[in-house]
């Protein structure tokens, strides 16, 4: 399970090899064997022994900021990576071709996910096909144009991002139409979110970021060396690249909360031009996201939990980087759930 600390002033200690959470007269003991990660979203106190215990059991401690974005984590001293993967990652980035081929695979998977998801939503709403037609066509066009991209094209980065943007706008506009009247939104907004949907979606993406980052580190990849999102100081470029095919997981959970009318006004703090989730809303969103990631879907002819797909793909990315130039590259990602 994931331990989420969201009561301010919680004390996290260790007793006889077991985590002990204390807050005034509330107490909870849990064995490290049952814990996957400890997520700290609020003010808490953490003993060094508890940290050591979680390191011993491969449990990562993640700190989230008020938006639910990971700001840091406690990780082992060993990276678990081979220096080789990192070196290949760097050359793939510098020489470009392999890296950009990987990136355009990831982006086209992302667009394909959007396309399939809208189609699925359309079939669930007989008689409303008309409002899906245009966005589906737009996304499809971006997918087609992406196929024609030559790796040698100088502006490939800009063009990739262009197609991605066009498809994304059509996609989110279409989603908005499906929501109850008062929750409709106009486009994406990050820090700060301007409406409840964006607040929920940003929070879901935040959870996903930390999962993808963890998957990268476990696979021996350097989260800071990306292909499309070229590295800026202190930016997790690879995480931004690798998250693309998985964003659909966050979008599905967020959309479901709204179309399924699970969202209440009380879940949000609204200020002048920002909307954010409050302590009532966060558990609902985390719960929905976790349940979604815990579900098994068909993946490479096996039934795999969504959360494990992320790890599989990170390992696969590492293997592709290690493989020699002329070796045949397997399909990027086949999530068969639609």
């Amino acid at each position: 399970m994931q331990l989420v600390i969201n009561t301010p002033g919680t004390l996290i200690t260790q007793k006889d090899g077991i985590f002990r959470l204390k807050n005034q007269d509330k107490r909870f003991d849990v064995s490290p064997l049952k814990v996957e990660s400890i997520v700290i979203t609020n003010k808490a106190m953490l003993s060094t022994q508890a940290v050591a215990l979680s390191l011993e059991h491969n449990i990562d401690i993640v700190f989230l900021d008020g938006y639910g974005d990971p700001v840091g984590r406690v990780w082992f001293a060993k990276t678990g990576s081979t220096a080789m993967i990192r070196r290949r990652q760097l050359t793939a980035e510098v020489n470009g071709e392999k890296g950009l081929a990987l990136v355009s695979d990831m982006i086209s998977q992302k667009l394909d996910n959007q396309f399939q998801y809208l189609k699925k939503l359309m079939y669930a709403r007989p008689g409303k096909e008309a409002q899906f037609e245009k966005p589906l066509a737009t996304i499809n066009q971006s997918i087609e144009e992406l196929k024609d991209l030559e790796a040698r094209d100088e502006n490939i980065r800009n063009r990739l991002m262009g197609y991605e943007g066009t498809a994304g706008r059509a996609y989110f506009q279409c989603l908005s139409q499906l929501f109850p009247e008062k929750y409709r939104f106009s486009g994406r907004s990050r820090q700060p979110a301007k409406d409840p949907f964006n607040a929920v979606l940003n929070y879901c993406y935040g959870i996903l970021y930390s999962r993808v980052e963890k998957a990268c580190i476990l696979a021996g990849l350097d989260p800071y060396v990306g292909f499309l999102h070229t590295d800026n100081y202190n930016k997790k470029s690879l995480v931004f690249d690798l998250i693309e095919p998985f964003r659909i997981f966050a979008e599905q959970s967020a959309v479901y909360l709204f179309t399924g009318r699970k969202i209440k006004d009380d879940y949000f703090d609204v200020s002048e031009n920002a909307v954010s989730l409050n302590t009532q809303g966060k558990p609902i969103v985390v719960e929905s996201m976790n349940t979604h990631l815990e579900e098994s879907v068909r993946y490479r002819r096996k039934n795999v939990k969504r959360k494990h797909i992320i790890q599989h793909e990170a390992h696969r990315l590492a293997n592709i980087l290690l493989a020699d130039e002329d070796e045949k590259r397997p399909e990027w990602l086949e999530i068969k759930e639609f």
């Binding site: 331990l3 077991i18 064995s31 064997l33 719960e287 976790n290 349940t291």
Partner: protein
Amino acid sequence: MSSVLVWIVYDIVEDGVRNRVAKQCKKFGLQRVQKSVFLGRLENNRFDELGEICRDMIDEDTDSVYLFPFCQEDFRRINVLGQGFDRKLVNDEILAKFF
């Protein structure tokens, strides 16, 4: 890794030994449901491991420890009267615990 639901029930004469067995059960992630009864889900090889650890601690002439594996179907049919345990917690169904 396949796992199994287990009841652990013991009768141990010495206080020290009894406490140590209880601590081990907690460490393995089992929930205490009565003073000398633990319940929870264990990976198969952990089940054997816990059995061996308990065997080493107890005095086999005076004490007894039972490790009962049982199945999901039986779990659903458990009838609890009075103060019960948290079913989801025991069955590892809680994905996120908020505290």
